[in-house]
Every structure is written in C-alpha cells, then in structure tokens.
C-alpha cells in the first residue's frame, strides 16, 4: 500500500517540500545512568514521508524525537537535515525551522488562536500583513473557519480543535520537517480518527517530512509510510513499511507488539481513496425536491447528498424524504456517516456500523464531498488486498551501532544498550 501512497503523492501536483533527516550514531546518556536512553542509533528518514516511532513507554522513542530538534542534546552522534549537519548550530534557530506538535496542541492559554499560530513567524520577523494572511490560510488548512476561530482563546476550543491549531502553529513558517509527540493521545477515539484523516489530507497538500511518536500501533499503521519499532534504549527492532512489518515481524518482540489480529490489521492498510467510490446524486439547499427525486429515480440510486456552498456534505435524503419535502433544506445532520478519503477501510466500516448504514459519504481535502463508499466496496477491497502483496520497496536505513542489527527478517534483536524503563 505504500506503493500506491507513494505513487499517488508523486502524481499529485504538489512537490515534496520535506527534508530528509539522518541520525548518525546518535547516543543519549543521562548523567548518573549507566545505560544509554538512546544507544548509537543510525536512522534515515526519507524526505516527504511519515515515519512513526513506536515502542513501549520508556524505550527512548520520545528522546530520539526530541534529539532531532535538539530539545534534548545528544551525547554523541550527528543529526543531518537535508545534508546539513545541525548538531552544533543554535538550537533555537534550528527549532524555528522544525514544526513541533505535542499532545493537546500545547497551545499557550493566554494567547488567542491567531497569536499562537503567529509565534514562529513573529520570531522570524515577518511583517504583520503576511502573518495575518498566513494565519488565515493555516486555519483554512486545518478546517477551522478563520472568522470564527481567529480570536478565540484555547479554552474556548474542543480538544480536537486545539490539536488542529497545534498543527497549524507547527506549520506556520512552512518548515520542511514536522515532529509530533503523541499528538492524538488526549482526544476521544472518534476525534482521533478524524484528526488522523485530516493529518493525512494536510500531508497530501504539504508533503512534509513528518516524524511522529505514538504508543498506538494501529495509529502507526494508519499514518506511517515507515514504522520504526523500538525496544529499550531505542534499540531498533524493525524499521520497515507497515505492510511488511505486519506480514513479516522481525522478532518476537515485534510480534508481541503488533498483538493479535494482525490479519484484521490489514484492513487498516487500505485507504478509502484507494478503492473505487460510487458517484452520488448531489444537490444544494433551495433546489426543488421533486427534481432531485426524478434525477434519483432516473439513476437508480437510493440517496441524494445535500452539499453546502463549499461542496461539504450537509445531509442525505432518501426517496421517501424527497417525496415528502418540497424544497431541499440546508440543515446539517450530525449523524451523517462521513469518512475522510484518507481514512482506512477499518474506519469506514466502523463509521457505517455506528450509523447503521451500508454506505458512508467520503470527503476529501477541506471536507469536500467526493463520493460514496459502500459495504460491498470494502469487501471487494479486502479480497483484493489479501491477494496482492508488494515487496519491492527498499526500506530506509536504520540500525544501532555495536550490533549488526540491520533491519533483516531473520536477525534477532541485539542485547546491547538496554535500559530499565
């Protein structure tokens, strides 16, 4: 599936704006501790891809992430971003060039949404007009109406909205690299799924290099182009595409970490935009219901989708509702089964089950309606996914020094550098 992800991004009009990151034999040893928190890690993070760091708590994944922007200074080793060694440059200047998102957004509660987002551009000395325009642009990007949200304070936002503003702030100065530390850990599962979809949508627009720490393996499979599974002391157990990790876990540790149900997790590997969607009859508020009904009957479809002026779905209407109505109303139906096109088939099935519908509406960038996915589509896609398995992608480099532990299906985890959690 990374295959199709990569080809689809290459096909899109956006070019990769991300930078490659190379960690070279990076070690972090805290004073007074014998074992390293991160031991001699060499890791290549390809430009424009999403790399997920997963592992048990205390394994050093967060330490590794924070060494990329030098919030934690490595004890030894080099950090190279886009070919430039950034190990010794001014840390504050480095961090202004790298987006950083933490749990719940980490917004400053005494500043408005706009001032939060404007922090980095201000530090970089942008002029006011440019900053204001950028703030609005970013709020649009994360699907928040600038008019409505610009002047709000963080406590006036929901958890999911705060997280979106957090992402907007991180993207403010258009950094090539985005680091995320358990970004979706503090929101409820449904919001989390939406935010994940949205992140993937944003990524398809901006093409950054994203490094994201999570403890949720499903999240890693869903978001990651590549997944790095760490053991204690940031020992790399496996660094590969989600498909291959699921199909060929490198060690018992990885197997245990994936957990049971690896088969079902394959569902998580296919995205809604990779299957054929069904076209739908769409209409807008204010149209005559009888016209829509006859259109519907002519096409043999069961439902019509009402869209707002920006093409976002408001509600669905079946034949019976249409025959009763005169004019199409523009009220929003909160129970509408909607999935983002970056959602996995797993999410889509989930959404259908929750709404007790055999279909779900699919939305693309900025919540614009793109089509309908049905239960049949999902079933066919599962069957197709099971029969094909790509295996010709070179995984990026990842190993710990002192142990020849190249990501290799046969190799056992090295014993060196472990540290009590």
């Amino acid at each position: 599936m990374s295959d199709s992800k990569i080809s689809s991004s290459a096909a899109s009009e956006n070019t990769v704006s991300g930078a490659s990151i190379m960690l070279q034999e990076v070690t972090k040893t805290y004073p007074g501790q014998k074992k390293s928190a991160v031991g001699g890690l060499t890791l290549e993070i390809p430009a424009g891809s999403i790399v997920m760091f997963v592992g048990p708590s205390g394994c050093g994944k967060t330490t590794t992430l924070k060494m990329i922007n030098r919030l934690i200074e490595p004890t030894s080793g080099q950090i190279v971003i886009n070919g430039e060694d950034v190990t010794t440059m001014n840390g504050d200047e480095l961090r202004r060039r790298i987006g950083y998102v933490i749990q719940a957004g980490g917004l400053f509660p005494h500043m408005t949404v706009a001032s939060n987002i404007a922090m980095v551009p201000k530090m970089l000395g942008w002029d006011k007009a440019k900053i204001n325009a950028r703030v609005d642009e970013l709020l649009e990007l994360v699907s928040l109406d600038p008019e409505l949200y610009r002047d709000r304070f963080p406590k006036e936002l929901s958890g999911g909205q705060q997280q979106r503003v957090g992402v907007a702030r991180a993207l403010a100065a258009d950094p090539p690299v985005l680091l995320m530390d358990e970004p979706f850990g503090a929101v409820d599962p449904i919001t989390r799924q939406r935010l994940q979809d949205e992140l993937l949508n944003i990524q398809s627009e901006v093409q950054k290099t994203i490094v994201c720490v999570t403890h949720d393996f499903d999240e890693a499979v869903k978001l990651g182009d590549w997944i790095a599974i760490f053991n204690e002391g940031a020992q790399l157990e496996q660094y590969d595409s989600p498909e291959r990790i699921l199909a060929n876990p490198a060690s018992e540790f990885v197997e245990n970490f994936i957990g049971s149900g690896a088969g079902l997790k394959q569902l998580t590997l296919t995205r809604v935009n990779e299957v054929d969607l069904v076209d739908a009859i769409t209409t807008t508020p204010g149209k005559r219901a009888s016209d829509v009904l006859s259109q519907l009957q002519g096409s043999g479809r069961k439902i019509a989708v009402v869209l707002d002026s920006r093409g976002r779905p408001l509600r669905r209407m079946d034949r019976r509702q249409l025959s009763r109505a005169e004019i199409i109303e523009g009220t929003y139906d909160p129970d509408l089964p909607v999935v983002g096109e970056q959602a996995t088939l797993n999410d889509a099935l989930d959404t259908m089950l929750v709404a007790s519908a055999e279909y779900a509406l699919v939305t693309g960038r900025r919540d614009v309606f793109t089509g309908i996915i049905t239960v049949q589509t999902v079933m066919e896609a599962i069957a197709a996914a099971n029969s094909s398995m790509d295996d010709h992608h070179e995984a990026p480099v990842g190993l710990n020094s002192g142990a020849i532990n190249v990501v290799d299906i046969e190799s056992e985890p090295a014993e060196s550098g472990g540290e009590p959690a």
Binding site: L71, R95, I102, Q103, A104, G106, H110
Partner: protein, 242 residues
Amino acid sequence: MSKETKGLIYQLVAIAAAFAALVIWLVTADLTDTERQTLDPGTIWKYTQEHLQITLVSAVIVLLIAIPLGILLTRPSLRKAAPAVRAVANFGQAAPAIGVIVLLAFWLGFGPKTAVVSLVIYAILPVLSNTIVGLQQVDERLVEAGRGIGMSQMAVLFKVELPLAVPVMLSGIRTALVLLVGTATLATFINGGGLGILITTGVNLNLNVVLIAGSLMVALLALTVDWIGRLVEQLARPKGLS
C-alpha cells in the same frame, strides 16, 4: 457583572462608609484639647504620608528582591536551592515583627531606614513563595512547547511563564502590601514615623479617641491597599484564563 467585580464594589463602598463614619465621629465627638491637637487633619495627613512612604519603599524593595530571586530559584540550574532560600525567608516572617524591628534598630540605628529594612525582611516571603509557586504551576509542557517551536529560554520566561504566573504572583504581592501597611505601624517604636504614633500616643497618654482613630486609620489604609491590589489583579489577569 462578575462575582469579583461585585466584591470590589462592595469593598470600596464599605471602606468609604467606614471612613465617613470615622470622620463624622471625630467631628462631632467631644474632644479634649490634647486630643484635638493630636488629631489635627494636617498632622494625620502627614503621618499617613509617612506611613505610605515607608510601605511603598519597602514594597518596591521587596519586589526588586523577591521577584528576580523567585525567577532564579525556578530555573533548572538553581531549582535545588529553592527550599533552602524559602526556609530563610520563612524565618524572616516567623520572627515577631516587633522583635526584628527593635533588634535591627540597635544594630543599624533608629529611624525610617531601619524600619524599611525590617519591613522588607518581614514581607519578602509571600512575594517570593508566590513567585516560585506561580512559576512552578505553569504546565511543564507549555514550556516545552515554547522551546520546541524555537523560543529562547528568555522568551519562554517572559512570554509564557511570567504571564501565566501573574495571577498567583499578584496575590502574593497584595498579601505583602497588606502585611506592610499593618506592620509599618511598628516603625514608630524606632522613630520611623507613620500612623503608629497615634496608637502609641493614645496608649501612653491614655487618650482612647486617638488610639481608636489611629487603629482605624491603619485598618482602612490596609483595606484600601488590599482593594487596589484586587483591582490590579483583576485587570492584569491574562485573558483566556478563567
């Protein structure tokens, strides 16, 4: 109107009413000549000015010492020293104020300067410990978020930590000011001036009206300072915090 705003208005009304009652009482009361002389409005105004002067000078010195010290003691490198410094500050407040003032006077000489020194020792604790607590209660993750987006340590301190600590710090400053107004009464024992002289005169010459008037003046002054403190707290509270 918020609860706090209402409280502010009530307090102001109460202060004004009490002051008016005091004035009416003094004007209508049957005073002896000595009492009338001691309670001459011009003299009382002079004492009040002295009193405020001692209070304000001490307060400014307290702020200049306690706030930077509190900031330093919450920086990672000096965090360990915080308990020790707080213990010393605690000692300053735990010692009886009258004892500190008199002992210092023997050492530094009698006069307003010594009064200020002892008041500073006495009032440093609330400001220091509220500065420390105010900065400590700032969410660690916000500091990290600030550093993570490329703010320098100084920028994080001035734009994130201090603004978020302001409510707690201001309430410490208000406590200190009220303490100072009350304790400045003792300055009179070492020739420091202030409204305390009315009280001592009242006690020494058995002039109850003077004693009561002096005590009430100090109490009203303290309440007024408290009111101003509350007002500033309201106005300076960062928006976006509830």
